[in-house]
Structure formats: structure tokens, C-alpha cells
């Protein structure tokens, strides 16, 4: 999943040939505005079949690919 997520961020959210590492801050890159966040939620929910509860929609959980992956792991193994 983490690889898919990274591919999605690099391929569909970042412009041109920009790339991020999995621990790099997406917030500082300006990737996550309201449209970017919505696309990420849709992607994660589609791929995993999970539903991300509203209270988990906080900057800490979306600040990097690693952080999103950790959130997904925690949702899978509560």
C-alpha cells in the first residue's frame, strides 16, 4: 500500500517531474489543499476498503506518505 500511495502522490498530486520521499513533508510542499486531501482520502478508501473516520483527518496523519501508511496500519489493526 505504501508504494501505491507514494506512486499516487508523485504521479497524480505533484506537478511535473517533482517527487517526494516517503518521509518528506507534503504540507510544506503545498500538495495538501482541500482538493488534494479529498483525492488522497478517496484513493486510500478505494484501495483499502477502509473508511477514515473524521477525527483522523488531521495534519499529523497526512503530513507524509509514512504518516498516512501508519494511519492505515492502525486502522487495519485496531
Amino acid at each position: 500500500m505504501k508504494e501505491d500511495l507514494q506512486k499516487f502522490v508523485n504521479g497524480s498530486l505533484l506537478r511535473g517531474s517533482e517527487q517526494v520521499d516517503s518521509n518528506e513533508s507534503l504540507l510544506e510542499r503545498g500538495v495538501i489543499d482541500s482538493v488534494g486531501l479529498m483525492q488522497l482520502i478517496e484513493f486510500i478508501e478505494d484501495r483499502t476498503g477502509l473508511r477514515i473516520p473524521d477525527q483522523l483527518l488531521v495534519p499529523e496523519n497526512f503530513r507524509s506518505v509514512d504518516a498516512m501508511d501508519e494511519m492505515i496500519q492502525n486502522l487495519r489493526n485496531p
Binding site: R15, D33, D54, Q55
Partner: protein, 521 residues
Amino acid sequence: MSFLLWQSVRTAAEANPDRLAVTDGSSPLTYAELEEASSAVCAYLLAAGLEPGDRVGIVAPKSSRCVASLLGVLKAGGCYVPVDPRAPAARVQFILRNADVRFVVSEDRLFTALDLSSSLGHPSERILLLDDGVGDQGTGWSDLSSFGAASPASRREFDPTYIVYASGSTGEPKGVVISHRNALTFVDWARTTFHISNEDRLSNHAPFHFDLSVLDLYGALTAGASVHLVPDSSAPFPSTLAQWIDETGISVWYSVPSALIRLLKKGDLGRFEFEQLRCILFAGEVFPVKHLRPVMEAFPHASFHNLYEPTEANVCTFYSVPRPIPPEMESLPIGRSCANIETFALSEDGGKCDEGEVGELLVRGPCVMQGYWGLPERTQQSIMQNPLHDDYLDPVYRTGDRVSVLPDGGYSFLGRTDHMVKVRGYRVELGEIEVALNAHAGVREAAVVALPDDEVGATLHAAVVPAEDSKLDSESIKKHCLNRLLRYAVPETVTFISELPRTSTGKIDRVTLGKSMSSDL
């Protein structure tokens, strides 16, 4: 007397020197500090050679320093041009070149990432970087004190204060020039109408390149109130934002409806009372009544006001929402004219519409922009002599919005006379997206339709006819658009078809296309 925007701020500052003026969370400025910082920016700009009327590009995330810089530009007699720092580099460069900016205010990392040095070719003394320690590509914030003090430049009320760029149907954004008089007409009206005082705490949700921010910044700063900038990094997160509104004790909130709908749906609002929040203003798009009702319940202490805001005439009509909304009300009126402004609807035969009739909304008064920057012909299409008389010079702005006249003299918004749509409150010209799509080598032709969506205003869908022998996939088309357009203007879906439907006159048949696209979803 105040007839320049910065003069009104100075008057408020003199009466409230120790009160909080602006904060971005990490660096709060009192009114005295804001005055001092903006005067330092003014002294720097004058020392670096700013001439009256020079444009200054603002390419930075929002911050207290950025607000001080806006005021500094005005004190120096300049005109600022706020640009979305998240836009594609080519778009940022286009706007800065189009406005012929002589100076740029930015941040070290952004200035490099957007390649503004080589693309603009300005000498480094004309670059102000808001960071502390910067290299040699510009003047750093901490160097400002060395420029001493300078007297603000003398300007007239008709001189430009800022230029905001909006989507243009030709594929290039166009700059709306707003004068001191335009801005103050709106700011003074808002401060009086919503009783903004030095006890108030205003939020600033909209980015500075979106003119909703003008009310937040100057509504607060001309009243001695404080303006609290929502950081770009927490604005998209509804639950974080809801907590911030409550903890900060925001008393006046202004945003697009879709931001309030997101707060309602995903913000877990039941946790908070929002006792301080007394006034909620919204503009930029239609607020569906079915969403507004529960939003009003979630903010029980606030009055709600619908502001109608074509950028070219600031806010020119408004409607105060009754609480509760009467059960029979299905759509929200845009209301009646603001102070010192006249509006009327013009029918297709050129007469003034009476109650119940439908026409294009026209606006006259001190709110009407100076024009589109560098586009005299485009300006003439939008601003014309009042068609109801020819006694004297009386310019009116054609909004391009179709309205019906209500019994109370107010208006109900019905739609556009052209192909502009609103997505999340932002103006999007379908033509601009089509220009971007047609720039792809593998595209023979393309059209974009907007389908109504009651949470974000509209969703965008592209129909693409591939060129012969080209193999396209929707992801690569979207990426191509993302490289040229703002994120909200990138089509959500891309459908490949063999031919675009045409009307009998050979134009793209958007009605048929829209129907077939909506049935495919």
C-alpha cells in the same frame, strides 16, 4: 481624513497601539508593531527605487510579515499583486510578467523553487524575502531595520491598491485592478454593517490572492480588531479547523460556502459551542439551503449573511439570512445593494427589469474596478456607459450574472451568461481548461463541461478526442492539466470520444455533451 487604505489602518493603529493586530499563530504583531514593520517595508521599497504605481508581486504563504508587507507596499505608493504560491511555476511567472512587477516579496525556498530569479531577471535588491536568514538572492526580513524610516508616498484615491488575477476564457488569467476608493467603499461598508469593533477577532480563511481575504484583513485592521490567519497547512483539515475556531474565539468568519459545508460534514462540530462566533459571512458560490440549515444549527450564536461578490465590483449586494430559514425557502437570494452602490437588472431588449423579470445584473458606484490590467478592449466589454441614460459619464459593470428581480427589490441568482463556473468558490473559465487540454500533442480537440454539485458548486469533466495514432490515458491528461492549471481546475474525469457533438451552427453542443457525461458517471 482617510481616502487611502493604509491611512485607515494607521488611524485604527493610533487608537489601539497595544492591541493584537494580526497573528499567524507563531508571530503575532500588535498595531504598533504592524505600523513599524510596514513602515520599514515602505522605507526599503523607496530606497530600492519604487516609483508611484509600481506593481509588487506577493508570492508567499500567508504570515504576519506578509500582511505587514502588503501595507508597506501601499505606504510606499505601490500596488500589490498577490499570486498563489502553489500555482504552477509557469502561471506564477506569467502573472508577474503580465503585471510587469518591479519588485517581488517571497520566501527564499519558494523564490528558488518557482525559478523567479532567472525568469524575471530582477536585480536582487528588488527582491524582499520574508525569512530571517537568506542568501544573496534578495533582502532578508532582518535587514529591513537598516533602511530607517520614510514618509508614505502621496497617492490619489483612484490609484490602484492591488491587482487580483482571475481565470480567463482565452487561457490566460486576467488582472482585476482595484483602487483605494474601490477597496475602502467595500471595507467601510463591511465594518459598519457587521459592527466590527476592536473587540472582534476575525478569521482569515481565504488565501491572499482570493479577494475574500480583503474583508478579513482590512475589516479587522481598520477597526482595531485582530485578524487570525488560518495556516495553509491546517485549512484543509475540518476537525483541526473547527477546534481552532473555538479555541481562538473567532467572532467573525468569512469563507466560501463549501468550506462551511466541509466543516459541517467532517468537522465533528458537536464538540464545540462556538459561543464567541457572532457573525458568519459567505460568498463566492451558491449556498444550497439544505446545507445552510444544519450549518446554522451548528453555529447557534451567529448571524449569517450571503455576500454577492463579483471580483470586479467587490461585494455589491448582500442578504441577511433569517433564523430560522422559512421552510418554503428553496434558494437563497443574493439580496439588495450595499451602501453607496446601485444595481439593476437589464433585460435582453435593453430595458430595466421590473419585479419578476429576468436580466443581467449591472452595478454602478465606487465599488466598480478600474479595469482589467493591460486589456483595454476587454475592459470596454465589461464596463460601459449606463444604458439607461446618456446625460453624463456613468460607468456600469456588467456582471455576466443572470438574476430575477424579487418583490423586495433584491435579486435571485439564476446562472451565468457565459462559460464561467464556480468550483469551491473559485472562478473557472471552461475555455481556460480547454486551452490547456488542446495544448497536449495527443489531443485533437477537447471540451469541458461543468456538472452542478451541491457541495463544491460544480465538478469538471473533460471530453477528449485523441489525435490519430495517439494513445492517451486519463491519468496522463490530468497530470498534463495539473502542470498548467490550479488544482481545483483540473477535470475530475476524462472521457475519450471519437467526435464532439455539434450544434447546427457547428459550435460544440455543451448541453448534449453535459447530458451524456452526467449519465456516464
